[in-house]
Symmetry: C2
Subunit: 96 residues, 2 copies
């Protein structure tokens, strides 16, 4: 399934900057960065739970925010891009 | 319909900062800011086209990126939040 992960990590101090790096590093393992703080990941249920668990361990729940949008393949084609384009193309879907 | 708008505006100069403010200002008119650069908007087709047109006018297509994800009401309920929560709740759906 296609999962969209968007995050806001509070980087007002060094600990926050470290959390930001760690969140990005985890997301890179599972998907493609389409914007500075937005990843599109193609994962199965187990991978998604694993990623979510890792992100939960990293973030400060009172300062940071992560939103996970569960899309589907059909939904994948309902994405419009204005300006600079990055990301997983429909033709190059990753197979796990 | 529920539309997710995520943007990256290149703010390396004053013109970019101005574009960023303008993009955010437009999105505020149509939805709720759920993260620094992510809005959830409940719009009909005409409103969505209008917003998209305005954003296209504002951005620098070679430097900025806007991604529009067309979700639906069912999809709305497949959003998970970790940490700080903001946004449109299912119970308080805006009616236009």
């Amino acid at each position: 399934m296609l999962v969209l992960i968007a995050y806001d990590v509070n980087t007002e101090n060094e600990a926050g900057k470290s959390r930001l790096r760690k969140v990005a590093k985890q997301c890179v393992n599972y998907g493609v960065r389409v914007q500075n703080s937005v990843f599109e990941c193609i994962v199965d249920g187990a991978q998604c739970r694993m990623l979510k668990g890792k992100l939960q361990e990293i973030i400060d729940e009172e300062k940071d925010s992560i939103r996970i949008y569960y899309l589907n393949d059909k939904q994948k084609q309902k994405i419009e891009c204005l300006g600079v384009k990055k990301g997983i193309s429909v033709e190059n879907t990753l197979i796990f």
